[in-house]
Amino acid sequence: MKIVGVAACTVGIAHTYIAQEKLENAGKKAGHEISIETQGTIGTENKLTPQQIQEADIIILAADVKISGRDRFEGKRIIQVATEIAVKSPNKLIEKAEEVVKQKQ
């Protein structure tokens, strides 16, 4: 399955990037295509393309602050959690994403 998402924490220095790394690793390990955009102090990196978003089965937003460009995901299935959840239990979060996608099919 195809997963895209955004990570954004309060200060934008640490949790954002740790969440990105953990989610991407967990997603790949489970056999999915996954790409996480980061919105931090340095600005937006690994920006999702409209095509990536369009093709995604599910969107994971790991954010403690309002993310910019949320409207890009309108009409998509979205899981929203705090960055802490992505850092603490990345595998469970991916499993949850799998369940949500399965249910809606």
Binding site: T10, V11, I13, A14, H15, T16, Y17, I18, A19, Q20, E21, K22, N25, T38, G40, T41, I42, E45, D64, E84, V87, K88
Partner: protein, 150 residues
């Protein structure tokens, strides 16, 4: 860009003997002061504790990442401490902490984009279990650098 550019052997301490979060933070902040990353330890610590108030910086796996933006940061960098014993800390997995990475980032990052980029790559590494395992086993400064090398 090399992540090692963010590391400074003078702000890395292995075999640290801190008994508490306060002790560990002060020891690491002192390294930042001595090496001219920060200008005022008390006020820098106040900004670090302000971030501690918002939520846990113990990310599990015995690692803590205290950080915050502070006007008293002159130069962006990190101090790393590997403590001999586990210190009580607010963590996501309920365990204590042995590896502490104290981030020093200023409020005004004009012209610091390269360093910020390095710092973000460095932070990513902390989300990697293999890196953390190596880091926690570090006996010497070199081992710490090695943990982040790949």
């Amino acid at each position: 860009m090399e992540i090692s550019g963010i590391l400074n052997e003078h702000t890395i301490k292995t075999n640290m003997n801190a008994k508490s979060k306060d002790e560990a933070l002060i020891e690491l902040a002192n390294l930042l002061l001595e090496n001219e990353y920060i200008t005022d330890i008390e006020r820098f610590m106040k900004d670090i504790y302000a971030r501690e108030e918002i939520g846990q910086t113990g990310i599990g796996n015995y690692i803590a990442i205290p950080h915050g933006k502070s006007d008293f940061v002159k130069k962006l960098g990190v101090a790393i401490g590997i403590n001999k014993s586990e210190i009580p800390w607010e963590t996501m997995d309920g365990n204590g902490v042995k590896g502490i990475i104290l981030f020093a980032v200023g409020n005004d990052n004009e012209g610091a984009q390269n360093h910020l980029k390095l710092l973000s790559l460095f932070a990513r590494k902390l989300g990697n279990d293999e890196v953390i395992e190596k880091l926690l086993q570090s006996e010497k400064t070199e081992d710490v650098k090695e943990a982040f090398a790949n």
